[in-house]
Symmetry: C2
Subunit: 334 residues, 2 copies
């Protein structure tokens, strides 16, 4: 009967220590590509398979982090998942992408079954019970691009109100009096903070954002299109549309084209996030730049601190700035 | 000392069988929402955590499928992952999203450690050794939107050559003589099949696609832009650009705008895939429609067959058709 092949056999064949084999096969850092290759070849030659389940029972370390995101078809989230994944991988963690269930308890039970060491949540509503449920199960958890109403959560986000303030300043300088807002859902912190920031900054400039010029919907191009068609149908048309994110803004640009309006001559449209396509010639969107890699780094660093029982800030905020492209201008004088 | 809470305790409190608790907590189908809720509440009340690692050691079933994809920031892949995830979830499987390593052996060792029951690969090159490595480890594996040079792989894909043939027919009918192609990498089956299909159909119509009018690059808008700027700089400009996917086509539209060319009057641009943004007013792209949900269903069905030791077709092909929008016209007569 052949005996079981162990990591020590792999180490002997590869000519390295067992610890190096373990690190190399778990994809941890500080192993040279040549050594990794040597270990992988030796493991393949011996047909050695480290059994993840056995390993995690003995050490309770899975080297895996779950990212919870329900909106992968909104390209903002893949663009955020990518640097999260990269920073996690650089720190020896594999990524497991999990979709939010509508039932927080069920999502929590799927995450606390021993399959991961920590969780990054990208799409929580303000009243989500998921962070509480994870905390109760002792699983470290960080909210990214979101905060909740609980002050016990660890969160990383952009300076949403400040960014909206930059937009208000630009529109005030250009002389816009009739400003509309097409925003994301009111239940999400990102939307709420951007709306608050815009209102406050406009008020400070002696302007006012009336409720009749505000629409709420999904963070999608289709919601932006519908919101814009609705707002532009009013007797006194807004001359500028501030949008809760770039996809809403692109939807507003689609609506303008549908109505035969020229941007920016007839209508100013401002986005938020600066996703990759905002800089396409076809779109050329003036927007608020948000550095996803910096945000992702904060989130991964906070999570690694929690996993390692080190202190983590409750809130870390990444600065944003305005990118001036082709969709803003002074209003036509009528 | 308190004894360990088991699924039988949860079943007693919820008033259902232990099998129902097990199915409900593993998110398997055929459990009513009310029962699921009852079980989740009972589990929460008892603070019961099914330990995934312990479970998988006892049954060797993880109820988890890995999707390997390296290009999440290309929105085509999230749009494909979403229906894969949905079909898998409908069949009681959770999804683990894994990023391709450059080293196939290392990726394989990360997948064959007992953390999943099967693998769906979306981004393999034609010479990828990953399917072989997974097969050697006894892990079921299906390629989606890709084939490899090995005839032992199980793959699901679109009718790429037929779709390119429809494009050739349209351009021939419109009277285009100078046709350029901006394609994805030659090492990927999707690119190769679309190119072959276009060439064959043009030849049948007595036309020719010369090498000097073909460019290869990534499947990205930026590669499309560069390819188009290059092709449109030639002494005899192509009057139509066929693109390997929609992002390349959008890049070509960006290049046309940069050069001050009107589409479709000065230039016809045709995409492939019909991603969501192809129908935006700003883009309005004539392209080949590919039904991602149908493709994803084929892939999940094939994988479930392999996991269940049932026969699966080596190749399943989803039909495609042309969507006529605003980026095609007859060439200007000069």
């Amino acid at each position: 009967m052949s005996r079981t092949i162990t990591s020590f056999d792999v180490a002997r064949l590869a000519g390295v220590s067992q610890a190096t084999v373990s690190r190399a096969l778990r994809n941890l850092p500080n192993i040279s590509p040549a050594t990794r290759e040597k270990v992988a070849r030796a493991a393949a030659e011996l047909n050695y398979v480290p059994h993840g389940s056995a390993r995690s029972l003995s050490t309770r370390i899975t080297s895996r982090v779950a990212i919870v995101s329900e909106e992968l078809t909104n390209p903002f989230y893949p663009a955020l998942v990518e640097p999260l994944r990269q920073h996690l991988s650089d720190n020896g963690y594999r990524t497991m992408l999990v979709t939010d269930d509508e039932d927080d308890a069920l999502t929590a039970s799927n995450l606390t079954d021993g399959s991961c060491d920590g969780v990054i949540i990208t799409t929580a509503a303000r009243n989500s019970r998921l962070p509480d449920a994870l905390r109760a199960a002792g699983l470290p958890c960080v909210l990214v691009n979101r905060t909740t109403d609980s002050d016990r959560d660890v969160a990383c986000q952009f300076a949403n109100a400040a960014g909206a303030g930059h937009v208000a300043e630009l529109l005030t300088e250009l002389g816009h009096e009739h400003i509309g807002l097409i925003n994301g859902p009111e239940t999400i912190s990102t939307s709420a903070e951007r709306e608050r920031g815009l209102k406050d900054a406009l008020e400070q400039a002696g302007r006012w954002l009336p409720s009749r010029l505000i629409r709420h919907g999904d963070f999608t191009a289709e919601a932006g299109r519908r919101g814009a068609l609705d707002l532009l149908d009013a007797p006194v048309r807004p001359t500028a549309l501030v949008c809760g994110n770039d996809y809403i803004a692109i939807g507003a640009l689609n609506a303008a084209k549908e109505l035969g309006l020229s941007v920016p001559e007839d209508l100013t449209v401002i986005g938020f996030d600066d996703v990759a396509m905002a800089s396409w010639e076809l779109i050329d969107l003036t927007t608020v730049h948000c550095d996803l890699s910096a945000l992702a780094w904060d989130a991964v660093d906070s999570l690694l601190r929690l996993i390692g029982d080190r202190p983590a800030d409750c809130l870390r905020v990444t600065a944003v700035d305005l990118v001036l492209r082709g969709t803003h201008a002074a209003p036509r004088r009528g």
